[in-house]
């Protein structure tokens, strides 16, 4: 039986968007389960010591999905309820894209697609030069993969043998109506990466894939996570284009809550 993970976080993301009057709910829902797993169960991460030297690094290259990240950081009290309440206000820490100059624990400000992955490559290379064991995790989108820099990075990371780098491709098919990127796993495989393909909303598959990553091999890794934009709200899953940056009204917020609670 399929289980919808992180129901309360999904509701919080909808609420944040409703309250702050801007956001990208479907893009957050497609990456939420993986971000939750990384922070709670996989990355070397100390919420009390966000800059610890041995930490793993996380970069959300598809920055517009950031409310998923905000909701997880909120679970660790890195972001307070007040921070969420203030989102998009003039002096807020939080806005529609994550800002490392304002938010503790955010390594890079992202939002301009195709740039976060390059930053992550450099960080991976820097850590390797310093002979440090930290790992770098970066989430990119399938629509982001329309950017040429993504493929420059695919070539570069393989060339530089960045085995401490793991890209997660949020393959939510958001670019299918415009410029699809089919056969993603084959493409990354051809660039010389270690590739896996999983259901990005299935906890068992998420766990197994990350646990199987071999950071001793010479290749960079990519997990092609097949995800659903708007996962958890059937209407949003169906009409993800219309919901891309839609702000729910009061009734729609109640509807979203209800749909999440009753999701099967």
């Amino acid at each position: 039986m399929k289980i919808l993970l992180n129901k309360e976080l999904r509701k919080k993301i909808a609420w944040m968007t409703w309250h702050s009057k801007e956001g990208h709910i479907p893009s957050a829902y497609s990456i939420l389960d993986i971000i939750h797993f990384l922070y709670h169960d996989f990355m070397k991460f100390d919420p009390k010591n966000l800059t610890m030297e041995e930490r793993d690094f996380f970069i959300l290259s598809k920055g517009h999905g950031c409310s998923a990240l905000y909701s997880v950081l909120n679970q660790f009290d890195i972001l307070t309820e007040n921070d969420l309440l203030e989102k998009n206000n003039e002096k807020a820490k939080l806005a529609t894209h994550p800002d490392s100059t304002k938010i503790p624990g955010i390594e890079a400000s992202t939002g301009s697609l195709g740039n976060g992955i390059g930053f992550a490559l450099g960080l991976s290379l820097g850590l390797k030069i310093k002979k440090m064991k930290n790992r770098v995790f970066v989430i990119i989108g399938d629509a982001e993969s329309n950017e040429g820099t993504v493929w420059e990075c695919a070539l570069l990371a393989s060339h530089l043998k960045l085995n401490n780098l793991c890209v997660i491709l949020d393959n939510n098919h958001s670019c299918d109506p415009t410029l699809p990127v089919p056969d993603a796993q084959k493409k990354w495989d051809a660039f010389g990466w270690e590739t896996q393909e999983i259901d990005g909303h299935n906890l068992d598959e998420i766990k197994k894939s990350f646990q199987s990553l071999n950071f001793n091999s010479s290749k960079p890794k990519i997990i092609v996570a097949n995800t659903i934009k708007g996962k958890g709200v059937p209407e949003m899953e169906e009409n993800y284009g219309a919901w891309h940056s839609k702000v729910p009204n009061d009734n729609e917020l109640k509807y979203i809550y209800n749909e999440i609670d009753n999701y099967e």
């Binding site: 100059t101 400000s109 740039n115 390059g118 490559l121 450099g122 290379l125 820097g126 420059e152």
Partner: protein
């Protein structure tokens, strides 16, 4: 001394990178041969990553975030014009340091045509908060400016010229953000940068024949502007001409003019710009031919003075 900075900057990089193990050099498939000494001695801090400038900039920002001091190098048109967004966001907004050593600023690679010209490289980098723009006209200047700035944690653009002015400046202090009064004068301030220190000096005799005593202010740093020196000079002369191989839009003349109009005590000071103008430069030919056609000549300096002042 070889003053072709494109050829000699690699010696400075080797010297600095030998004692500062944080220096990490990334080239976009140019100067690879010239950097081999550094590359062989420091294989983990030298990378030739081909022609993917946008990603090289982002990657260098990540390296900087990991604690290194990157030097990135290729043509200005690709590393700056093409990669402006990456410079602005990955370095500028993150407040990370980088040293951008470019070639081909302005029309130095005259035979290469428009694809290899960059008229606004200085303007683009200048527009990023906390950046510095250096336009050294000799190896001596590059050495001094690089060594005193490379580890300042900011974006530093060094326009590495192939057209040095060949003027001996060894008796002058070369400091970031500071200009040089090469010649004192009372009638006209000539503000110049890079190669055009030579053009300015060559004009002295003609001005003297016309009883005009020019002051020559040389600016190897374009940003930050040496405002005090500019103010001191135009307070005396009341008139100025700016010579630069940058666009008329947002170049040195623009900065100087903006500064002057902001100062009540400089009311009445008037000036003229001799620059690369506002349009694409379609002509090929030599660097000298470009200079003649665009008015970087003694005749034009003198006639500009007479017509305007």
């Amino acid at each position: 001394m070889n003053n072709n900075v494109r050829e000699t900057f690699t010696d400075t990089i080797h010297e600095v990178g030998t004692f500062d193990k944080k220096l990490c050099v990334i080239v976009s498939d140019i100067s690879h041969f010239r950097l081999q000494k550094f590359a062989k001695e420091n294989p983990d801090r030298y990378y030739n990553l081909g022609v993917c400038e946008n990603s090289i900039v982002n990657l260098a920002a990540g390296i900087s975030y990991a604690g290194f001091i990157p030097v990135i190098h290729t043509f200005a048109s690709f590393m700056i014009d093409r990669s402006y967004e990456q410079l602005k966001l990955s370095f500028g907004y993150h407040k990370l340091g980088v040293n951008i050593v470019t070639i081909g600023s302005g029309v130095e690679y005259s035979y290469h045509g428009v694809t290899h010209h960059s008229y606004i490289d200085g303007l683009l980098v200048k527009s990023i908060e906390g950046s510095s723009v250096f336009n050294p006209g000799s190896t001596h200047e590059f050495n001094k400016l690089f060594k005193s700035s490379y580890n300042n944690g900011c974006i530093n653009l060094f326009r590495a010229t192939t057209k040095p002015h060949e003027i001996d400046l060894s008796n002058f202090s070369i400091l970031p953000g500071k200009g040089i009064t090469y010649k004192q004068g009372s009638d006209l301030s000539i503000f110049c940068t890079g190669y055009h220190l030579r053009t300015a000096i060559e004009s002295i005799k003609e001005f003297e024949k016309n009883n005009i005593n020019v002051e020559i202010i040389y600016l190897p740093t374009i940003k930050p502007l040496d405002k005090n020196l500019i103010k001191k000079s135009v307070s005396k002369t009341g008139k100025y001409i700016v010579m630069e191989h940058q666009s008329e839009y947002g170049g040195l003349a623009s900065d100087i003019s903006n500064y002057i109009i902001s100062k009540k005590e400089l009311k009445g000071v008037i000036g003229k710009s001799i620059s690369l103008g506002k349009n694409f430069i379609h002509e090929y030919g030599t660097f000298d031919q470009h200079n003649s056609r665009l008015g970087f000549t003694t005749d034009n300096l003198l006639s500009s003075y007479k017509n305007i002042f």
